[in-house]
């Protein structure tokens, strides 16, 4: 068995049981990155020296008896729009190519305290605007299942990295589906938490009222464990809240009412994607859940409302990149206005500029009421729609994206088509609800994911259902083809000459046997 087939929690346990060292693990991850990066381009910055130093420091803390966390010492990656002090944080943009934040995002502070070992910052659509990780300044990331295809986006680098076994878990951000859709495209699990569950301090803003940091893992339990490390009230983010105490609930889905909105399976959904999602609903039913027909008729307004609100906020959030303080500055400007024009014309890519212009337009005098205000009203109606549905069911099951991963370049010149790819995910952000994505099958050799949407702050029920599904199925254990790295535990016990120096000690039971 390959070490990369283990979950983060399993590897964390090996670390705590001293069956594997943190530094060896970091070396393993760095080697996996070195082997897969040429094909994938999932990482913007690989942190070789930093990761090894961090691993040694975590090992020392563990050896000194610190408890740390279930994921201490486990190599992980962070999307490159989350600030890491002294480490480049580029947002996949020329604008911030040279930016090294002097501060850490709260989530990274918490991860450091928990003993995380960061091995790379991952690629993304520029400023997290996109669904394919094609608009990055650093070139597209490729899908590990088929390198001619996109990994989804905007957290495509994080999803591809976990899928390819570079890292055991990842942080992404999700404004309209940017965690869930790449997880579906790459066959990994992910969670977009309730708005406010995780501090946004240090997440470089795209759309402040929609952005939320979440986790990506090989299974949902890894996502839940990683979320536990980063969530909770943060005094530096006024919109963050402490998670309310969770009621004890039995494992499994028996008695859970799962809403299935018929109009989420209608026109626009690839039948090859619909089939495994419907089958998954039946699996839940077979496990004891009750399937309920629900109606979410306002979903058709979700895309326009989302693009109005998100672009409006983005146009304001991205105004600070003016060439005066940090990042890229246009050269040769003769006046202040010229500096602004050059910096912003040359520093931003096409999609970012498109959204800034859209946003500035919908906020401008004479158009505000017709667009922004209407969108906010639609947003409120969508929230109420969900509220009503959650009186009929405990969670909603839906497709994640209308298609599987498409070819690189296939949709890049068709922004509308690209935007419609967010149809199943954006309303969750508009309503501030939690959503998880788990693999539920394959179509044409490519992973298909399903989405579960829950009540605000009821991630626990989503995790319970997703974990039950993953206990019942093996879709999440499927791995893309990849070069074998002889660093697995089996290899370690059988073969002394590993090349990567990885030594995994047998478990107590194995030793006894």
């Amino acid at each position: 068995m390959d070490l990369r087939d283990h979950t983060a929690l399993e590897v964390g346990r090996m670390v705590r049981e001293r069956r594997i060292g943190c530094e060896e693990l970091a070396r393993h991850a760095l080697r996996a990155i070195a082997e897969t990066e040429p094909a994938l381009n999932a990482c913007v910055t690989v942190l070789e020296a930093e990761a090894l130093a961090a691993a040694r420091a975590v090992q020392a803390r563990l050896d000194a008896g610190e408890a740390l966390s279930p994921l201490a010492g486990v190599p992980m990656v962070i999307k490159d729009n989350i600030c890491t002090a002294g480490i480049p944080t580029t947002c996949g943009s020329k604008m911030l190519e040279s930016f090294r934040p002097p501060y850490n995002a709260t989530v990274y502070e918490r991860l450091l305290a928990a003993g995380a070992v960061l091995v790379a910052k991952t690629n993304l659509d520029e400023f997290a605007m996109g669904g394919s990780t094609e608009t990055s300044r650093f070139g597209p990331t490729r899908n590990p299942w088929d390198t001619a295809r996109v990994p989804g986006g905007s957290s495509g680098g994080s999803a591809a990295s976990v899928a390819a076994g570079q890292a055991f878990y990842a942080l992404g951000s999700d404004t309209g589906g940017s965690i869930r859709q790449p997880c579906a495209f790459c066959g990994v699990s992910g969670v977009k938490p309730t708005y406010g569950a995780v501090s946004r301090y240090g997440l470089i803003a795209y759309a402040s009222s929609l952005d939320q940091i979440g986790t990506i893992g090989r299974d949902i339990l890894d996502c839940a464990a990683a979320l536990r490390l980063i969530e909770g009230r943060d005094e530096r983010d006024s919109t963050s809240v402490a998670r309310p105490p969770e009621a004890e609930a039995p494992a499994g889905v028996r008695g859970l009412r799962i809403g299935v909105p018929a109009n989420y399976f209608g026109e626009g959904l690839d039948p090859a994607v619909a089939a495994p999602v419907r089958a998954a609903a039946q699996t839940f039913a077979a496990m004891g859940a009750e399937l309920v027909d629900v109606a979410l008729p306002l979903v058709e307004y979700a895309i326009p409302a989302y693009y109005v609100v998100a672009c409006a906020e983005a146009s304001s959030n991205l105004s600070r990149y003016d060439g005066v303080k940090y990042g890229f500055a246009g050269a040769g400007a003769e006046s202040l206005e010229e500096l602004y024009l050059r910096t912003r014309s040359e520093g931003f890519g096409m999609e970012v500029k498109r959204r800034i212009m859209l946003g500035a337009f919908v906020l401008s005098a004479g158009y505000f009421d017709a667009y922004y205000k209407k969108a906010m009203q639609a947003r409120e109606l969508i929230q109420r729609d969900f509220g009503r549905v959650f009186t009929q069911c405990d969670m909603i099951l839906s497709p994640n994206a209308p298609t599987t991963a498409y070819k690189i370049g296939e949709n890049i010149d068709d922004p509308l088509k690209m935007y419609l790819g967010d149809i199943y995910t954006v309303s969750v952000n508009l309503a501030g609800l939690p959503g998880v994505t788990i693999p539920c099958g394959f179509a044409g050799g490519l992973p298909v994911g399903l989405q579960l949407i829950g009540r605000a702050f009821d991630e626990a029920t989503l995790f319970r259902a997703a974990a039950a599904f993953q206990a019942e199925t093996n879709f999440h254990k499927e791995r893309p083809n990849r070069p074998s790295v002889p660093c697995g535990r089996e290899a370690a016990t059988k073969n002394k000459d590993l090349g990567c120096g990885l030594q995994v000690q047998p478990t107590v039971e194995e030793a006894r046997a």
Binding site: I204, S209, T239
Partner: protein, 477 residues
């Protein structure tokens, strides 16, 4: 045709909170450039604002003093524009739900100015042009210093009213302790919206906005100048352009900055990074309870409770520091008029002469009270009193200990004084004769001689009485 001017004021005051509105940086004026800054107030990517509760409290306090309605569920909005002193390229302000609305301020003479609204916002940084290097530098120290913008109704009809309003507003803000209102340091700034119309016309004329006045005097001049300019334009058959104008105090004139056609579209929208500001009744009541006494109320109290004349009450409330010093001293001596006199004459003069501001004084009211006790109790005379006050003022000495140590206590024993009087009369028979011959001047000389003999430490009233008695012959037993 006669014209009437109509003006409204937008007054910005920097609040004197210890820290900035959305981060923990200090608000102190005059630090080295870019030393009072952090990632939040310089708008670094990914940073978020956290509202300073004291700012809300100061705004509520101001709103209550200006008889405003307090918005129970307020919000912040973003005002978007590009300028190098604004690092986020938007100012967090309040457009849709400002914290205070519909207030009023009496400015005397029966005139009341309506307060349209008061909103909270953040200040921007400062651009400093370096003529040697021919470059412009940015100082972000002021970025995020909390501001209140107090917007009046267009109720002003003269420059005098504008100045009266500003003086009254400044006095209230100072007494509320929410701002130091220093126009020179920019902690109080006023923009004027002004138009003129033919007398009797209900419809308002086209207005201009005037900026960059650095003193109340400049404001008065700017109002007069702009009124005159607009009237001249109209009289010449022209039309007033809606524009923003910049006052140049040196040239005593204003210049157009930008016209309405070039006005910015600020693309306001609700600030998504901050939660709504909830202000409940309990909070408002607490602020009301803890509201400092305003100058107006103090003056009333000084007249009623202390029997001070209006002039004294005005002088003592002209600065909050004087009022505080007066009240604390008066309370300790129980002689408010004596305390008032001491402060209004000698202390104000010494403060001015030493180039100090009243709020800089560290005078101990207990020591002033002790000094007043010495003077009023006849233990030292007023001339000695002045000397002792100087010692208290400059060296913080204890008056009682000081007069004892310096032997300045008045000779209180009438027998000693009487002996000195007799000696003076005996030594100066010519003067005695002159006096009895009707030369009143000789009396003063004899008093002086007695005082000199006593080293200046006797009560002059007592000497006066005893000299007169001695000259009149043997006092009646």
């Amino acid at each position: 045709m006669n014209y009437e001017m109509v003006a409204g004021l937008e007054v910005h005051v920097e609040l004197s909170t210890a820290s900035k509105i959305f981060c923990g940086c200090v608000t102190d004026f005059g630090g080295e450039p870019n030393t009072h800054v952090c990632p939040v107030c310089t708008g670094m990517p990914g940073t978020l604002p956290v509202l300073n509760r004291t700012v809300v409290e100061f705004a509520v306090r101001t709103g209550l003093a200006l008889r405003c309605d307090i918005t129970r569920r307020g919000k912040f909005d973003r005002k978007n524009y590009f300028y190098p002193d604004l690092p986020k390229a938007y100012q967090v302000s309040q457009l849709y739900l400002p914290i205070c609305r519909d207030g009023a301020l009496d400015i005397g003479g029966g005139k009341t100015i309506g307060i349209h609204e008061i909103h909270m916002e953040e200040d921007a940084g400062k651009l400093i042009h370096d003529p040697w290097e021919d470059c412009t530098l940015v100082d972000f120290n002021r970025c995020g210093v909390p501001l209140l913008e107090i917007v009046s109704e267009p109720d002003f009809r003269s420059a005098g009213e504008v100045v009266a309003y500003l003086e009254k507003l400044r006095e209230i803000l100072l007494y509320l302790g929410v701002s130091d209102c220093k126009m020179q340091e920019g902690s109080m700034r006023a923009d004027i919206n002004l138009s003129v119309r033919p007398e009797g016309q209900a419809e308002l004329g086209t207005r201009t906005e005037m900026k960059n006045m650095n003193s109340f005097k400049a404001i008065a001049r700017a109002v007069e100048s702009e009124t005159k300019r607009q009237i001249e334009v109209l009289k010449a058959g022209g039309r007033v352009r809606q524009e923003t104008r910049r006052w140049d105090d040196n040239k005593d004139a204003s210049f157009a900055m930008r016209s309405k056609e070039n006005a910015q579209d600020y693309r306001y929208f609700p600030e998504p990074d901050l939660l709504p500001v909830h202000i409940d009744d309990a909070w408002i009541e607490r602020v009301r309870r803890e509201m400092p006494e305003l100058a107006e109320d103090k003056r009333r109290r000084y007249r009623a409770d202390f029997g001070l004349p209006e002039y004294d009450a005005r002088q003592l409330t002209s600065e909050r520091a004087w009022a505080r010093l007066f009240e604390e001293t008066a309370a300790r001596t129980g002689r408010p008029k004596a305390a008032a006199n001491l402060i209004m004459t000698d202390i104000m003069r010494m403060t001015g002469d030493s180039g100090l501001l009243p709020e800089d004084l560290t005078l101990d009211p207990a020591k002033l009270a002790a000094l007043i006790g010495l003077i009023e109790g006849g233990q030292i005379n007023r001339t000695v009193g002045k000397k002792v006050l100087e010692q208290v003022f400059f060296h913080d000495v204890d008056p009682e200990a000081y007069v004892k140590a310096q032997g300045l206590l008045l000779v209180g024993d009438p027998d000693l004084v009487r002996a000195a009087v007799e000696k003076a009369l005996a030594d100066n028979p010519k003067s005695v004769e002159d006096y009895r011959g009707g030369k009143e001047k000789a009396f003063g000389f004899l008093v002086g001689q007695t005082m000199r003999a006593l080293g200046g430490k006797a009560d002059p009233q007592l000497i006066n009485r005893l000299v007169r008695e001695a000259l009149a012959g043997e006092p009646a037993e």
